[in-house]
């Protein structure tokens, strides 16, 4: 079975600074990787996904992530964050049957 580890539970950062949210996964089969964002009292919204092809994936709101098979990682990055990026971010992995989520990283952007 696959699993996901998000290494940081909270990441505080100042506005316009770069940010990286870390995600590592484990699986015995080929996987498909996702990053979702959740605003308070809302469902999850897809930021980006890796299914195959280029290992650098660009998503919405200026986010990107890089799939690294040798390091089993899928870290999320943004070169310059805004106050509105404050939210919970979930990394997820899907193999043949279902989707599993990491514990989440709370990104707080300070002015």
């Amino acid at each position: 079975a696959q699993s996901v580890t998000q290494l940081d539970s909270q990441v505080p950062v100042f506005e316009e600074a770069p940010v990286e949210l870390r995600c590592n996964y484990s699986s015995s089969v080929s996987v498909y990787l996702f990053w979702y964002v959740q605003y308070p009292n809302q469902g999850l919204q897809l930021l980006l996904k890796y299914l195959s092809g280029s290992t650098l994936v660009k998503g919405i709101n200026g986010f990107e992530a890089e799939f690294n098979k040798s390091q089993t990682s899928f870290h999320l990055r943004k070169p310059s964050v805004h106050i509105s990026d404050t939210a919970e971010y979930f990394c997820a992995v899907s193999d043949s049957n279902d989707m599993r989520f990491g514990a989440g990283t709370r990104l707080t952007v300070k002015p």
Partner: protein, 116 residues
């Protein structure tokens, strides 16, 4: 717009009183999921349907049941809610592509359940 809709957004129920949460989708996806998300935690998969095939997670309590009468609708029934069942319940769908589930899941806004 095609979407996943959960009703109600907020539900208050009494301890031990059965409650049903509903989810509908206009995406025509063949896979539907129910997740439970407690405060500051990751969504936890309760069960999912692949078409009419029901897949229960091993650690989902018997207190939780689900029904999918057709492609568009899915219900979560909690037979005897306890205080520990208070959470956000998320419904999601995915395309499934006739085999392994590899496409992303589309989520509804969630139903926040309070047990009093």
């Amino acid at each position: 717009d095609a979407m996943v809709i959960q009703n109600p957004r907020y539900q208050v129920t009494q301890f031990g009183k059965p409650v049903t949460l509903s989810c509908s989708q206009t995406l025509n996806h063949n896979v539907m999921y129910w997740y439970q998300q407690k405060s500051s935690q990751a969504p936890k998969l309760l069960f999912h349907y692949y078409d009419k095939d029901f897949n229960n997670e091993a650690d989902t309590p018997d207190n939780f049941q689900s029904r999918r009468p057709n492609t568009s609708f899915c219900f979560l029934d909690i037979r005897s809610p306890g205080l520990g069942d208070a959470a956000m319940y998320l419904c999601a769908t995915s395309r499934g592509q006739g085999g392994p589930i590899r496409t992303e899941a589309f989520f509804g806004q969630g139903t926040r359940l309070t047990v009093v």
